[in-house]
């Protein structure tokens, strides 16, 4: 019984980790290549979620929602990059934090005006609403399983894009030395815009898939953004491999902690105290993990440039 529950929670953790990976891979790419810290990445997550939710509610087709949300988020990302962020690449991180903080305020308020302050709640799309018994005796929701599969596909896609294609080579090259890449005749501005668009698209994908699981509401982007920061700090900034490892680690520890920590404390504390301690520890668990990792390896588990 406990084993089955554990397997289910493990898959839940994996699914959450995958979602974090979609956010973290974009953010870490953008940071690694453009040296830009983008707080507004969470806003792109929110844009993806709202676009997909709206189309899904209007048409009843989640696929159509995805087809609108992904290019939509990418487009918003590209517009923001061209009009605001491009001027910030040469600035220090403080300016970037401030300007992108301004962007968050703007996007949150704009969303509130367009969609209203109330949260949207979505059903899981019909085709994926069932459960699958991948482990005998432990039915698991198909939709969550689909998220895990999408995450694995994206991870493989990114791996091939970065290591096997010309675009990936340019991305790696400009992370190392952007002036040299520019001097060799590559349009670095265009490359940056493309990478930013890719990151925005992945954030939009994560947001769209998060819709049926969480409430679609203003501010949803920032909650996941801060977790994403934890992920890339643990993994090592600029490293996609690190993002993957960090995301899975954070997803698992957060989910399993919430599921089992209170029960664990009940073994040796009285129930009321155990609930209290468990509740505060499970929400703090990943931050404690981050502190431990940093105390051990200040540059993260798998830093991009050793």
């Amino acid at each position: 019984m406990y084993l089955l529950l554990f397997c289910q929670q493990f898959l839940n953790g994996l699914q959450f980790g995958v979602m974090l990976f979609l956010m973290a891979s974009g953010l870490t790419l953008i940071f690694g290549i453009m040296d830009l810290i983008n707080l507004a990445h969470g806003s792109l997550f929110m844009v993806g979620a709202y676009l997909c939710a709206t189309v899904f509610q209007q048409t009843g087709s989640f696929m159509l929602g995805l087809l609108v949300a992904l290019p939509g988020a990418a487009l918003v990302g590209i517009v923001v990059e061209v009009f605001v962020l491009r001027t910030l690449y040469a600035r220090d991180h403080l300016d970037q934090v401030l300007a992108t903080f301004g962007l968050i305020l703007f996007f949150n308020e704009l969303t509130k005006i367009i969609w209203g302050p109330r949260a949207l709640f979505l059903d899981v799309p019909e085709a994926l609403s069932g459960t699958i018994e991948i482990i005998p005796g432990a039915p698991y929701p198909t939709f969550r399983l689909a998220i895990i599969v999408v995450g694995i596909i994206v991870a493989i896609f990114l791996y091939f894009l970065i290591t096997r294609t010309r675009l990936g080579m340019l991305i790696r090259a400009s992370a190392t030395n952007r002036e040299m890449v520019g001097a060799l005749g590559v349009n670095v501005n265009l490359l940056y815009t493309l990478v930013f668009g890719l990151g925005a698209l992945l954030a939009g994908l994560a947001g769209a898939m998060a819709g049926p699981l969480f409430a679609v509401e203003v501010g949803m982007g920032e909650d996941i953004l801060i977790l994403t920061f934890v992920v890339i700090v643990i993994g090592g900034i600029g490293s996609i491999r690190g993002a993957l490892v960090g995301a899975i680690l954070v997803g698992l520890i957060d989910t399993l902690g919430r599921a089992f920590l209170p029960a664990l404390f009940k073994l040796f504390l009285d129930p009321a105290t155990a609930d209290g301690v468990g509740a505060s520890l499970d929400s703090m668990a990943i931050y404690i993990l981050m502190a431990l990792v940093l105390a051990w390896k200040p540059r993260g588990l798998l830093p991009a440039h050793e």
Binding site: L94, G102, F106
Partner: protein, 332 residues
């Protein structure tokens, strides 16, 4: 030129001081006592912003988690007052700490507790630098946010109401003007302290670290320790501001530790001018007045605040005070 700037700066400072001191009687005479509360809030946030500027502007440590210390200070006052009313102990083991609403005790405890928190967070965060530091301070503040959210005994998500404001000797802090002057006095005290600090040998080392930490290390300074002490001082300042905030609203809740509060304080510093001591005070004033008046015209005031911020970053890089009054790094 130098002489002119000096007089301009002095004039502005004197004018600001006169306005701040004269505000409560004038506001009472005009029956606009609302402004006393508003400006108390401004003074409190200014205190928090000045403390952030110590590490940000002088130490070059971009902390995005200052709300953790601000909120912790507020909670200390709230929790002590809560037990003070009940007459119960906050902790009874290994030693007994009784609740209290005596400002001298609870505000000091708030500052010390926030300093302790800053020591722990700083000791880990300062092992890193740059963008890591930004993200880690943010994450730790978020951790503290969840910690206070999970304190069901002290109201959890809903927060904790204070029965009254703290007692400060024979002063009646429930009188808004008296409370206002207390805030003003503490802010001026902290500014004078900070001015001495940044011009002291310690301050010079900290500023040296901002310019070139490796060189300071090569000169033999243990830069990590210096930065950590500076971080702890800033934490104590923010804790004191939090203690005042708890008294101002007579209410503490996890929303004081929300990450947007860290962002707001950061914005105040930058709006006013990084690396100037008076700048953050101006920044806090402009920010909160802007918030106040924009929100009167439209509930969607953030739609305007966001772009204003972006414009300040893109075009007025040294902040309002920094751009117009001072051209070079401030000596206090």
């Amino acid at each position: 030129m130098n002489r002119f700037q000096l007089t301009l700066k002095t004039c502005i400072l004197i004018a600001a001081l006169v306005i701040l001191i004269g505000l409560p009687p004038v506001a009472s005479a005009l029956e606009a006592t609302f402004y006393i509360g508003l400006f108390s809030r401004i003074l409190i946030y200014a205190l928090a912003a000045v403390s952030l500027d110590l590490i940000l502007g002088y130490g070059g440590m971009v902390s995005f988690g200052h709300a953790a210390f601000f909120g912790a200070g507020a909670y200390v006052v709230g929790i002590l007052a809560f037990h003070g009313i009940e007459g119960s102990a906050v902790i009874s083991w290994p030693f007994v700490i009784m609740g209290t609403d005596n400002a001298l005790i609870s505000w000091s405890v708030a500052a010390v507790a926030s300093a302790g928190l800053a020591f722990v967070i700083g000791a880990i965060s300062l092992r890193t630098s740059g963008v890591y530091f930004i993200m880690i301070t943010l994450a730790f503040a978020q951790m503290m946010y969840f910690f206070f959210t999970s304190l069901e005994f002290y109201g959890g998500d809903d927060g904790l109401s204070l029965f009254t404001r703290s007692r400060l000797g024979h002063m009646d802090l429930s009188n808004d003007a008296a409370f206002y002057y207390t805030c003003l006095g503490l802010l001026i005290g902290f500014l004078l302290f900070s001015r001495r600090l940044v011009n002291s040998r310690f301050g010079m080392v900290i500023r040296g670290c901002k310019e070139n930490e490796r060189r300071m290390g090569a000169l033999g300074f243990p830069t990590y320790r210096y930065k950590l002490v500076c971080f702890v001082i800033a934490g104590a300042g923010a804790g004191l501001a939090g203690a005042l905030m708890a008294n101002q609203t007579e209410f503490v809740s996890p929303s004081l530790l929300h990450w947007t509060v860290s962002g707001d304080i950061l914005v105040m510093v930058i709006l006013g001018g990084v690396g100037t001591l008076v700048g953050p005070v101006f920044g806090a004033t402009v920010f909160l007045l802007l918030e106040e008046f924009l929100s009167r015209y439209t509930e969607h005031w953030m739609l305007f605040l966001g772009p204003i911020l972006i414009f300040v970053v893109l075009f007025a890089r040294r902040g309002l005070y920094g751009s117009f009054v001072e051209r070079k790094a401030d000596n206090g």
